[in-house]
């Protein structure tokens, strides 16, 4: 028919730039502030729930690790006290290699605080990251040559699996009361090359049973964490979807009106996606902060502030926080996309008829 002339007579509707949609969205959010706050609160609750569960898991895992570390440090220190009497009168020297484990660092810290360390030397120039107290105590000794070992009464061997190779004979022969103690797992009298009675082994070798138990606990804990994470994510998805569905469907009439006035479907969809992502962002940030604070406060009551704050890995909390915010934005957009598209593709007459 006269299709050709039709096409030339009716041009395509103007595609509005993104900034116009953004302006309409901002204005819409500002004007319907009450409704926006309700929707954002929905997102906030979902994300806060997710974040509190995640942070809670971090706190619990941190506290468990911290408990184990503290127990081990306590064991080593009590062993040191009972096996190496009158340590406070003795000159202590530490010879290390590699990096110190958490337990070793704390043992070193405790020894330095309680008894004082005369000299500290590390192989391959690697200086351990010492806690402030300990490093202050040994700062003078650290620069001293390893020859100062010769004047020590007790030598602690610490660090990685590399046992410091040294001829201990001159040291041990200098005084018959001199001993070597080690927190290195692999070190014992024969590997160090000295007599059994001059060596104190501080590290504890775990039995197979203990190892299996730890492994089993870890597996159980990991499974629990995943399970709780999935469930809480599901709850969050449902909460956010509900909030977004409501916020879109209650505006079907408005969308119909806009389409009567010449709005394109793509404009309507874009508007809702923008609105959803903005609300998701605000709700996500608020939710992540509230969730983390809530979990930390609750666990502070259970475990005490000291334990919680010393064991909480802040970097992990931050990463989980960012992930939660991202989840908030993505879930909001996904949840709003479907109803927005349905609304946008509606025949204006149908959208106008809907009464919600």
């Amino acid at each position: 028919m006269n299709q050709q002339s039709d096409r030339t007579r009716i041009p395509d509707q103007v595609r509005l730039p993104l900034s116009v949609a953004f302006g309409v969205v901002i204005q819409g959010l500002r004007i319907r502030i009450g409704r926006s706050v309700v929707t954002i609160t929905g997102v906030t609750c979902g994300i806060a729930f997710l974040m509190s569960i995640l942070t809670g898991q971090l706190v619990k895992m941190g506290v468990t690790d911290e408990d184990a570390t503290r127990a081990e440090v306590g064991r080593v220190i009590s062993f040191v006290r009972s096996d190496l009497p009158k340590l406070q009168d003795k000159s202590i020297s530490v010879v290390g290699s590699g990096t110190l484990s958490e337990v070793e660092t704390r043992v070193l810290e405790t020894i330095s605080r309680d008894f004082g360390i005369a000299s500290l030397s590390f192989e391959q120039g690697k200086s351990p990251a010492l806690p402030r107290k300990a490093s202050a105590a040994v700062s003078a000794a650290a620069s001293a040559p390893s020859a100062s070992v010769a004047n020590a009464d007790v030598v602690f061997l610490m660090g990685g699996s590399d046992i410091p190779r040294q001829d201990w004979k001159p040291f041990l022969d200098g005084d018959l009361n001199r001993v070597i103690a080690s927190t290195i797992l692999e070190a014992d009298a024969s590997t160090v090359g000295i007599a059994e009675e001059r060596f104190a082994k501080l590290a504890r070798v775990l039995t197979e049973e203990e190892l299996a138990k730890i492994e089993k606990n870890k597996r159980k804990e990991r499974f629990r964490a995943i399970w709780i994470g999935v469930i809480s994510l599901l709850v969050t998805v449902i909460g956010i979807t509900n909030a977004m569905l409501m916020s879109v469907t209650e505006r079907f009439r408005e969308i119909g009106t806009m389409k009567c006035l010449g709005a394109l479907s793509s404009f309507v969809t874009r508007m809702f996606v923008m609105e959803a992502s903005l609300m998701g962002l605000v709700g996500g940030i608020a939710g992540a902060i509230f969730g983390a604070l809530f979990a930390i406060i609750i666990y502070t009551f259970t475990y005490g502030a000291n334990l919680v704050f010393s064991s909480l890995p802040m970097v992990s909390v931050l990463i989980f926080g960012l992930l939660s915010v991202a989840a908030g934005v993505v879930l909001s957009v996904v949840a709003a996309l479907y109803p927005a598209r349905v609304a946008a593709s509606m025949v204006p007459a149908t959208a106008l008829r809907s009464t919600i």
């Binding site: 028919m1 116009v20 006035l261 010449g262």
Partner: protein, 260 residues
């Protein structure tokens, strides 16, 4: 219709000799079927009508007669199941959604029974919204919006929200919004049904003024006698068909049909 050549098609819209009128909307054998599950409802069963440029046409009919469906079909708000609707000689069935959006934006202004103003926006924003859809800059739109609102007598209320206005004032804002992009046609679906006698009369006068001063074609679905009296032509729709066409002076408004 498919096989009709261009010449014959154009001839359809040519003015008959001695007739000053030109057709702006032509509906040919419009059918509309709504499907509710397995049940089919025939809202329109072959309605055919011409609307002339610059006239004030009222469509009348009992509820359920297909009045609103016809209104939606000739207003490009809903495509008919079969039959053709030409708006300004353009077959709307041939248009895609973007072209339809353009058409709704510039050719037609809509006024609804329940105003359908966007509640969260001020009067001015409601009026300038279609202008921004047409690509006008916000300053131009603002200027034009204020001018139109002054024309409908709401110059002092431009920054009020619809909820702060009376029904009559809200309907004036809706009329102003319909006029935003200087359309050729205004479609009004029961524009006075929610208004009292006095404010209804004001809206009718506003329509008459628009028809007179701007040469806008006004089509309204209504059974308000005052509105019928004010129009140039009245179409009766019954059971999905146009059954009668008359001028108001030919009609006895005291008959039982008008509830007297």
């Amino acid at each position: 219709m498919q096989n009709l050549d261009r010449k014959k098609f154009d001839a359809l819209f040519e003015k008959p000799a001695g007739d000053e009128k030109s057709v702006i909307i032509r509906g040919v054998d419009i059918h509309k079927v709504y499907k509710m599950g397995k049940q089919e409802t025939h809202a329109l069963r072959g309605a055919t009508l011409d609307v002339y440029r610059g006239e004030y046409l009222s469509i009348m009919g009992p509820s359920g007669s297909g009045k609103s469906t016809l209104f939606n079909a000739i207003g490009a708000l809903q495509k008919p199941t079969s039959g053709r609707v030409y708006i300004d000689q353009v077959d709307i069935a041939q248009l895609d959604t973007e072209e339809l959006a353009w058409l709704r934006c510039r050719k037609i202004g809509y006024v609804f029974q329940s105003y359908n103003l966007i509640q969260v926006m001020t009067c001015l924003e409601n009026v300038t919204l279609p202008m921004s859809f047409a690509g006008l800059s916000s300053e131009e739109a603002r200027e034009k919006g204020i001018k139109i609102l002054k024309m409908v007598g709401l110059g002092h209320r431009i920054l009020h929200k619809p909820a702060e206005l009376s029904g009559g004032q809200q309907q004036r804002v809706a009329v102003a919004r319909a006029l935003a992009n200087s359309p050729d046609i205004i479609l009004a679906d029961e524009p006075t049904a929610n208004l009292d006698q006095h404010t209804g009369q004001e809206i009718i006068e506003l329509f008459q003024q628009l028809q007179r001063d701007l040469g806008v074609t006004i089509i309204s679905a209504t059974h308000d006698t005052k509105m019928l009296k004010a129009s140039d032509r009245i179409l009766w729709i019954e059971d999905g068909r146009i059954v009668k066409c008359a001028r108001p002076e030919e009609i006895d408004f005291t008959s039982s049909e008008f509830g007297h």
